[in-house]
């Protein structure tokens, strides 16, 4: 019995069907964590990419060091660090927020590189033309850089969404009750791991496929006339 749903272990099929509502609750947690984490990654990554272009060396070097550090250390270590060490500094976050933050932080390091590549792909001559036409920095980003950058970076950003979605189960190690966490608990109580764990895998598969399809659709729908895409 979990969340008011009892399981029926008579046959694998009845077992699978009976735990579906429980896993469904876990799925919502998984999707929420991915959504929050991805939102953090998209925004923070952009901030990091822009700060890295700062003309103040202290800022750009600090940011470069930070992204490199985050990219080159395991997500699991960062997650444990945030979960067990932050409270020592008086920052106590719910397990879910800690998990989403860890995902977002790690992926912001990846997305910042994507943004950076997208910005660097704009030839210097276009920045100079924008200056010569007296566009402000903001106008240059809004009208010149972003419209050319977005179609180039959407595929990479989309890939990171899919891979982040697949990494959300690590949150179960810090007590977040996502799909994997719940499947694990069902296994502990019924001594039957095969069915719940297989179900988790089976539910992930269509999710990632749908996600990839959505990204492809977005990619196709973006206006990209005249923009040379590698």
């Amino acid at each position: 019995m979990m969340y008011g749903y009892a399981w029926d272990t008579t046959t694998p099929l009845t077992f699978a069907i009976s735990i579906l509502p429980i896993l469904g609750i876990g799925l919502l947690v998984t999707l929420k964590a991915a959504a929050v984490g991805y939102a953090i990654a998209l925004v923070l990554g952009l901030v990091l990419a822009l700060l890295r272009r700062s003309r103040f060396k202290i800022i750009s070097w600090t940011v470069a060091g930070f992204t490199e550090f985050v990219r080159d250390t395991p997500l699991l270590v960062q997650l444990f660090f945030l979960y067990y060490v932050l409270p020592d500094f008086g920052i106590v976050l719910p397990a879910f927020m800690t998990g989403a933050l860890a995902l977002g932080l790690q992926y912001s390091a990846y997305t910042s590189e994507v943004y950076r590549g997208g910005i660097d792909a704009i030839p210097r001559g276009q920045w100079e033309a924008a200056t010569a036409l007296n566009l402000t920095r903001l106008q240059t980003y809004r009208d010149i850089v972003v419209p050319q950058m977005v179609p180039r970076i959407v595929p990479s950003l989309g890939n990171y969404l899919v891979s982040m979605l697949k990494e959300t189960p690590v949150l179960s190690v810090v007590t977040v009750l996502d799909m994997l966490g719940l499947a694990n608990m069902i296994g502990e109580r019924t001594f039957e791991y095969l069915v719940p764990l297989s179900m988790v895998g089976l539910i992930f598969l269509p999710m990632t496929i749908i996600c990839s399809a959505l990204i492809y659709a977005v990619e196709r729908a973006l206006p990209k006339s005249g923009i040379p895409l590698r």
Binding site: Q126, E128, A129, N134, Q139, D143, Q148, G226
Partner: protein, 267 residues
């Protein structure tokens, strides 16, 4: 009458390399000046400094009475972004590699800055752009993307784009150097027409000697960051005084003599 551009002892360095050394130079209102000289002699740097694409370290520079450095200015330009914005209102530039925005149609390329910077109404900006496109002979290409145009056509659009901002000073940085020889004439034709405008001050860096002779009021020969010789184009080309000028002219004219008998006009 006051000159519109005044360089006073301007020194510009790239690291250890001094590109302009105590440089003095004045341009009168409406004057058409051509800068010639070997590559690396500092002539493009003069334009890039005027366009605020490059800062300079020492000396004084004024455009239309506005000094480039502010008394308490910070950063490499020794001026605030707001101040640089004010300076740029009077200058436009045409680049060697056109630098059109590839994701915008020809018309949008021209309309962009008047709408964003001059706060012009879009339909007003478009009718101005249409006029300019007719002038450079490309009205029928207004809905094309830059990648669909030839180099010569792209450069003519770039000229129209610069003119849409109504600059008092227009800078041309080797506008035909990136073009195939058969496309040079159409761009020079547009520049020649512009040279008829009395109020527009033009600074042109070029290797087209015949053209320089035809359109400019004054030619300046640059070598190693200073003007070695300058004066009336007829005099300078037919009777150069300095040995360096003579050497440069004979090397470049020797190359160009057989080519380009006639410069076509744009229809």
């Amino acid at each position: 009458m006051n000159p519109i551009i005044r360089f006073e002892n301007v020194t510009k360095r790239f690291g250890a390399l001094t590109v302009l050394d105590n440089f003095n130079f004045e341009v009168g209102r409406g004057e058409k000046v051509t800068l010639i000289g070997p590559s690396g002699s500092g002539k493009s740097t003069v334009l890039r400094i005027l366009m605020t694409l490059e800062p300079f370290q020492e000396g004084h520079l004024e455009l239309d009475g506005i000094s480039y450095h502010e008394p308490n200015g910070h950063g490499p330009f020794k001026a605030s972004e707001k101040h640089l914005h004010k300076i740029r209102c009077n200058v436009g530039m045409v680049f060697q590699s056109f630098n059109l925005f590839p994701h915008m149609t020809v018309l949008r390329n021209i309309v962009e800055a008047p709408v964003a910077v001059l706060k012009m109404k879009r339909d007003e900006a478009e009718s101005r752009a249409t006029e300019l496109l007719r002038m450079v002979g490309l009205y029928d290409k207004k809905d094309h993307f830059p990648s669909q145009l030839s180099g010569g056509q792209q450069q003519r659009v770039a000229i129209a784009r610069a003119l849409a901002m109504r600059p008092r000073v227009l800078l041309f940085d080797e506008p035909t150097s990136a073009l195939d020889p058969q496309l040079v004439g159409e761009v020079l034709g547009v520049i020649r027409d512009l040279a008829q405008e009395h109020d527009l001050t033009m600074l042109l860096v070029t290797h087209e000697m015949r053209f320089a002779r035809e359109v400019s009021d004054r030619v300046c020969f640059f070598d190693k960051g200073r003007i070695v010789e300058q004066g009336d184009p007829e005099l300078l080309f037919s009777n150069p005084q300095q040995p360096r000028t003579r050497e440069f002219l004979s090397s470049i004219l020797g190359e160009q003599a057989p080519a380009r008998e006639s410069l076509q006009r744009v229809p």
